[in-house]
C-alpha cells in the first residue's frame, strides 16, 4: 500500500456514511530500530494549509480559534479506527460532535437555519 | 453607477496606452464604430416602420445608439487631437 496514492487526500467517511473530510495529514511514529508506524490520520484546514505554508496555517488556526465555534476543527483519528480503504476511507466513528463537524454545525445553527426554507 | 465599469476601462486604458496603438488606427476604429451605430439606427428604423418593435424596446436601443455614438465621437476627437 502506498501512503500518497491510497491514504493521503482520500475522502474520509464515518460509520453512517457522512463525509468527515479529506485525509489532510498522516502521522508517522518513529521508533528506534523499527520501521516508522502509521499512527493516525488528521483532518482539518490547519493541517491542510500547513502543507502549503506553515505561517499561513498558524494564522488560519488562530483565526478559527477566535471565531464561530472557537476551534480550528482539527480531528486526529488513530489508525486503529480505520476500517476500510477503498474509494473512500471508512473510519469507525460518528462524525457528529467531532471537531471536523464543528464549523459545519455552527454554520447550520447560526446561518443556515436563519434563512427561510432551510428545513422544509 | 458606472464607477466600476469606469475603473475597468481606466485600468484597460492605462495598459492600452503602454501598448501604443497608432492614432490613425484608433481614429479608424472610432470611425467604424460610428458607422456601426448609424447602421444600427437604420436597421432599427426599418424594423420599427414594419411595426415589429415595441416602443419601450425602441427607446432602449435609441439610448444605446446615442451613448455609443457619443463615445465613438469622443474617441475620434481624442485620436485626431495631437
Amino acid at each position: 500500500m502506498n501512503l500518497t496514492r491510497d491514504i493521503l487526500d482520500q475522502q474520509v467517511v464515518d460509520r453512517t456514511g457522512q463525509r468527515l473530510g479529506k485525509v489532510d495529514g498522516v502521522i508517522l511514529e518513529l521508533r528506534d530500530g523499527e520501521p516508522p508506524r502509521v499512527a493516525a490520520i488528521e483532518i482539518g484546514p490547519v493541517t491542510l494549509t500547513r502543507r502549503i505554508h506553515p505561517r499561513l496555517a498558524e494564522w488560519l488556526g488562530g483565526w478559527l480559534r477566535r471565531h464561530g465555534p472557537r476551534t480550528d476543527g482539527t480531528l486526529r483519528i488513530p489508525w486503529s479506527k480505520v476500517r476500510a480503504i477503498g474509494v473512500d476511507l471508512r473510519v469507525d466513528l460518528v462524525a457528529d460532535g467531532t471537531p471536523a463537524r464543528a464549523w459545519e454545525d455552527w454554520l447550520r445553527e447560526h446561518v443556515i437555519r436563519r434563512i427561510p426554507g432551510s428545513r422544509q | 453607477m458606472r464607477a466600476i465599469t469606469l475603473a475597468f476601462a481606466l485600468v484597460g486604458a492605462v495598459l492600452l496606452a503602454g501598448c501604443t496603438r497608432s492614432p490613425e488606427a484608433r481614429a479608424e476604429d472610432a470611425r467604424m464604430k460610428l458607422a456601426s451605430w448609424q447602421a444600427t439606427r437604420r436597421l432599427l428604423d426599418e424594423q420599427r416602420a414594419r411595426g415589429d418593435l415595441p416602443e419601450q424596446y425602441v427607446r432602449q436601443v435609441m439610448r444605446a445608439v446615442e451613448e455609443g455614438r457619443a463615445q465613438a465621437l469622443a474617441n475620434l476627437r481624442a485620436a485626431s487631437a495631437p
Binding site: 501512503l3 500518497t4 489532510d24 495529514g25 502521522i27 508517522l28 521508533r31 516508522p36 502543507r51 | -
Partner: protein, 103 residues
C-alpha cells in the same frame, strides 16, 4: 524506546541529502506494509523529477515513447529503504552516511 512523530505529508517533496550534503533524491511516495494490526513504512520512493515528467507518465504505456532514454530514465522511481533514511530532523531528511540511495 523514544517515540517521536513525523508528519508524512510534509516529508513529500522534501529533498533528501546524500552523505556529501548534496541533494540525492526527492521523496515522492511512501510504501507501507502491514505488520500485525499496524502499517509500517517499507521504503520511500523518489519520484518523477518534476511536473513535466508527471504529465508524460502516460508514455510508460506507449512502447515507442518508452524507448526514448530521456523519458524512461526520468520516470523510473528509485526506492530508499526505511532504515537508510535519517529522519532525526524531519525538515532535512538525509541518508545515513554509510549509504548511497542509488543502490
Amino acid at each position: 524506546m523514544s517515540r517521536r512523530e513525523v508528519r508524512a505529508e510534509l516529508l513529500l517533496g522534501r529533498k533528501v541529502l546524500g552523505p556529501g550534503g548534496r541533494v540525492d533524491a526527492r521523496i515522492e511516495e511512501i510504501v507501507l506494509e502491514p505488520r500485525g494490526e499496524d502499517y509500517v513504512v517499507r521504503e520511500y520512493l523518489s519520484g518523477p523529477e518534476g511536473f513535466l515528467e508527471e504529465i508524460f507518465t502516460f508514455t510508460v504505456g506507449v512502447p515507442l515513447l518508452r524507448s526514448i532514454p530521456f523519458l524512461s530514465r526520468r520516470i523510473r522511481r528509485r526506492p530508499i529503504q526505511w532504515d537508510w533514511l535519517d529522519l532525526s530532523n524531519p525538515d532535512a531528511p538525509r541518508l545515513h552516511s554509510h549509504l548511497d540511495a542509488r543502490g
